[in-house]
Symmetry: C2
Subunit: 240 residues, 2 copies
DNA sequence: CGATTTATGTTCGATAGCGAACCGACTGTT
DNA sequence: AACAGTCGGTTCGCTATCGAACATAAATCG
């Protein structure tokens, strides 16, 4: 295995045979914060398997207001519309946490997908977990306070990061949640007073994850439970 | 063709060969308002192709509050998790407008799906259009007023109905949108004053659809445009 | 027919979040 | 060391929506 220790769960779940075919075409890339992997409506030429980066899928409105509809980390891939058949989507994919990813051309992905083997089954299940996340985001946007949503968002990010620190300003979080920056300042202030997090100029440390989960709405748990069900993470432990 | 004139677009788009295989197994059923096609988390045994009914996919929260995440009419099918691989989903499918549908057993659907032919391609594209709808619902919930959302909801329903009338109380609409009934009363009252709609105890008549579209947020158009792109509706006009 | 249920209308106060403006403090640069 | 830019904190008034309670009229049913 010639890639870094931080790997992508989807890729690692595949049988050795599929890996052998795909891995030569995976191109490691680094993704800086804020990079746009694809714009709404743009024909996508590649998919991206994050390894230690986090990508947000955002819907952007005419007036520029935005809202995150799902998050992708090393449990998934960016670009499902390629194999779903649409080739593009009305959302934007934005790097939310800098890091690395493995890039694969649309051509190679489809070649393997069209073999109708393990990759197809895996990617369809992954897509269903994305659907779950979007649906729950819709509900959360309707019913929950900024405070709760911030907790959800922190937990989703934390799950996709190695440590307890996020590099993320309140302004950026506000864009993701589709709320004002002041609203995030307020919510984050409360969490800091409670000792749940600690932050300083774009660095957020989560100090008490259990309490964060307690303060969160049910949406995080619903998504997590369903994702774990759909994608029980068992690396295909082939050493070859 | 031995079914009623009102047909399902997905089924009609399939090549004659696939239709020949599937149609013998389609079971016509009638769906009364309020019927639950499946409950959250329940293993699904059938999929449903609405012909002149409308089904809402709802996420229901612990406290009973709900929100519609997408709508399915004769352009689609209910039960994507069957072929996506999850077998169940955390949402509920509820009959929003009484009518008919064609029911197909999971077994038969999967049999055809696993041939990796036209049905697979079609259903994946349809699933992508569902994803679009959910994503836009999330954004709409975040950024738009009840007034705008009611317009969106009316348009989505109208597109899936033959005439201009909806059988639907304000209470039920409120459940779909995840808002209070009073909010819907208010919004509907405004639309009636403007002469856009006319309603009376559970019956809503849309009088001025162009104006309804003008009052609506962009979300309706985004979803419609993308759905038309993904599923250009060309019936396979075989007379056999 | 009268009684009950259902659908809609109205009001009241409370509150979450918005938009705009402004400040101060920290950071990195030259 | 001075500066500009970034990040976070605070304030004000405003509006959409909520929660609750109650009113009215139409539909349904005994």
């Amino acid at each position: 295995m010639h890639f870094s220790a931080q790997q992508n769960h989807l890729l690692m779940s595949l049988p050795a045979e599929v890996q052998k075919r795909l891995f030569p075409y995976l191109k490691p890339i680094t993704l800086p914060l804020g990079k746009v992997l694809y714009e709404a409506g743009e024909i996508q030429q590649e998919v991206f398997f994050p390894t230690d980066s986090i990508i947000s899928l955002l819907n952007v409105m005419e007036n520029g207001a935005s809202a995150e509809i799902s998050v992708v980390g090393n449990e998934g891939l960016v670009g499902v519309s390629l194999f779903m058949g649409g080739e593009s989507t009305p959302s934007r994919a934005l790097v939310q946490s800098a890091g690395s990813a493995l890039q694969l051309s649309a051509l190679r992905l489809k070649e393997e997908f069209d073999r109708h083997g393990d990759l197809l089954l895996l990617l369809l299940r992954y897509t269903q977990s994305l659907i779950t996340q979007m649906a729950q985001t819709a509900v959360c946007n309707r019913h929950h306070t900024i405070d709760q949503q911030l907790c959800r968002w922190l937990l989703l990010s934390l799950d996709r990061l190695p440590g307890n620190q996020l590099i993320m300003t309140q302004e950026l979080i506000a864009n993701m949640l589709g709320v004002r920056r002041e609203g995030v300042t307020d919510a984050a202030g409360k969490l800091q007073k409670l000792g749940v997090i600690e932050y300083h100029r774009g660095h957020i440390n989560v100090l008490d994850r259990p309490q964060l989960e307690a303060l969160c709405c049910e949406c995080y748990a619903v998504v997590k439970k369903e994702t774990d069900r759909l994608l029980p993470w068992h690396p295909n432990n082939n050493s070859g």
